[in-house]
Amino acid sequence: MTDGQKQRPNERIATMPQPGITDELKRMLTDYEPLSSTERKLIWYTFATGVLLLALFILLTRTVS
């Protein structure tokens, strides 16, 4: 089963009697779904792009002004 095909806790909850959002939030720690490799890539690529662009834009603003 790939990361994308894992059944999410919320999908399981949706098939059971609705316990309410408060209970759902409380139960998330026990039903924890680990970060997938795609999520990790999304997080770190985005952050790295942000830091690189930050450096680039600072350089650009200093140069322009």
Binding site: L29, T38, L54
Partner: protein
């Protein structure tokens, strides 16, 4: 408690009210804002069409506080001017309410209460002991004042709204049809575009600098805020993807709009962005009450850093622009008191608004990216494709009005420099209504922020992420980014 039961609680219901007609409200804000803007331009053709609108000066003698906006209407009694302003706005907003499918009688009753209560707050905030800056104390013959300028009326309106929202629920329910902060603030922002146009005409280099740096700062906000908040929500608080993505967008980007757009992009259940939005609204009020005063204390020497900080740190359009208004008045008063520097009013607000507007523009792009990542990589579903059109569908349309009023003023000024003073006077009249829409926004935000009910609904875990990320990370990174891009850039100084 079932999900449906949760959905129908008044706290969430009131949020749904501002969320569901979102697109319509955007276009309505464009219509109302450009209508007021266009009517104000009558001055260019010798027709003073809005001069009768009410304005309030800082006062020590209450009988001299209220007056019509322009001299040709000076003979008009203030009460006529006030009622005319109320009636004009009532008619315009009733048309909007009809378009939104609201109950017109309830809207009219609610708006009447909101308008007069808010204006009473504005009037109180203009009392010289509260509003007068040190240079004006001699003229008013008073030994002291809080130096908050007359924009302290916004804070008083917010407090009044909070009191009603939290302690007088029956009154809050009776006026809820007219509690539409998103409509009010977007209309104000459309009108504000004209003001920015004037500012750009007078200070072209500075305006270009502000716009360029504003774009830089917000790209950073998306790319640096979002992944960390998502990571913290998932890794340390155990939220599912369905909760973590809207939560990260709500905390990182632009509150309600971003949470809803992200929720839609990843196909989250509607309750998820609604719950996140309710948190955003409450915390935005807390930020609004704290950050402008922190900025006044620590950043009065760097006004535009403070301005950008408000745009990057305070969530929701209404609260961010409201924070810009307060910061503008507080820092100008502080600079005048402490250093004897009189900055031109409005520049701090313009920077906050510019940053916020750019953040709004990118919400659609970000939602598109997330929709693609989710549908292609994280939760692929056979046959599901992300359409480019979704960027347009999620684009906040009121920004078109803001850009249009900005460009029209800019084009008029460039084409005929001789009539810039008239355009400026016209924008001054439109500004009367912008201030009133701001006032309505502050009051409405206060009424919507039902702290007690939110806690009753068990938001502790969501709130914990919010508090940790907002106060432990976003505020400080926002300050750093604002400092990096706006340090050493100052508003123009008032001549003479």
């Amino acid at each position: 408690m079932s999900n449906d039961a949760t959905l129908t609680t008044p706290a969430v219901e009131s949020l749904q009210q501002i969320i569901q007609p979102r697109i319509s409200e955007d276009w309505l804000a464009v219509c109302i804002g450009t209508f007021i803007f266009a009517v104000s331009l009558g001055l260019l053709f010798g027709a003073d069409l809005l001069g009768w609108s009410i304005t309030t000066s800082v006062w020590i003698d209450s009988s001299k506080a209220l007056a019509p906006a322009s001299k040709p209407y000076a003979a008009l009694p203030w009460i006529v001017s006030l009622i005319a302003t109320y009636a004009f706005l009532l008619v315009v907003l009733l048309i909007a309410a009809k378009a939104l499918g609201a109950n017109l009688a309830r809207f009219a009753a609610g708006f009447t209460a909101i308008f007069f209560l808010s204006y009473a707050c504005w009037f109180l905030g203009s009392w010289a002991y509260i509003a007068a800056t040190p240079d004006k104390r001699t003229a008013f013959k008073i030994p002291w004042s809080l130096s908050l300028t007359n924009e302290s009326g916004y804070i008083i309106a917010l407090i009044a709204g909070l009191i009603i929202g939290n302690f007088l629920p029956s009154i809050a329910r009776s006026i809820k049809e007219a509690i539409r902060p998103e409509l009010y603030i977007k209309t104000a922002i459309v009108i504000l575009g004209g003001f920015l146009g004037i500012a750009a005409l007078e200070q072209r280099h500075l305006a270009t600098t502000v716009i360029f740096r504003g774009v830089c700062a917000i790209i950073e906000a998306y790319l640096i805020y979002w992944p960390i908040v998502y990571f913290i929500s998932r890794r340390y608080f155990g939220f599912s993807r369905e909760w973590a993505a809207p939560l990260a967008s709500g905390i990182s980007i632009c509150g309600v709009s971003a949470a809803i757009a992200t929720g839609g992009a990843i196909r989250a259940r509607p309750i998820v962005p609604i719950m996140v939005s309710s948190l955003v609204v409450v915390f935005a009020v807390i930020e609004l009450m704290v950050l402008p005063f922190a900025a006044q204390h620590f950043l009065s020497g760097q006004p535009l850093v403070a301005a950008a900080w408000m745009g990057l740190a305070v969530k929701t359009d209404g609260a961010a622009v409201a924070a810009g208004v307060i910061t503008d008045s507080l820092i100008r008063a502080q600079a005048l008191t402490g250093a004897g520097i009189a900055y031109q009013p409005g520049w701090i607000l313009s920077v906050t608004t510019t940053v916020k507007v750019f953040i709004d523009i990118f919400i659609g792009v970000w939602a598109f990216i997330l929709a693609w990542v989710w549908s292609a990589k994280i939760e692929p579903k056979p046959g599901e494709k992300v359409r480019l059109r979704e960027i347009w569908e999620r684009f906040p349309k009121f920004i078109l009005g803001y850009v249009a009023t900005f460009l029209i003023v800019l084009a008029i000024g460039i084409a005929s420099p001789a009539i810039i003073p008239k355009v400026k006077a016209a924008m001054g009249q439109a500004n009367v209504f912008r201030a009133i829409f701001f006032l309505l926004t502050f009051f409405a935000i206060g009424v919507l922020s039902n702290f007690r009910r939110l806690w009753q609904e068990g938001f502790a875990k969501l709130a914990a992420v919010y508090v940790l990320c907002l106060f432990g990370y976003i505020i400080w990174v926002g300050l750093l980014i604002s400092w990096l891009f706006f340090h050493g850039v100052f508003p123009p100084i008032v001549k003479g």
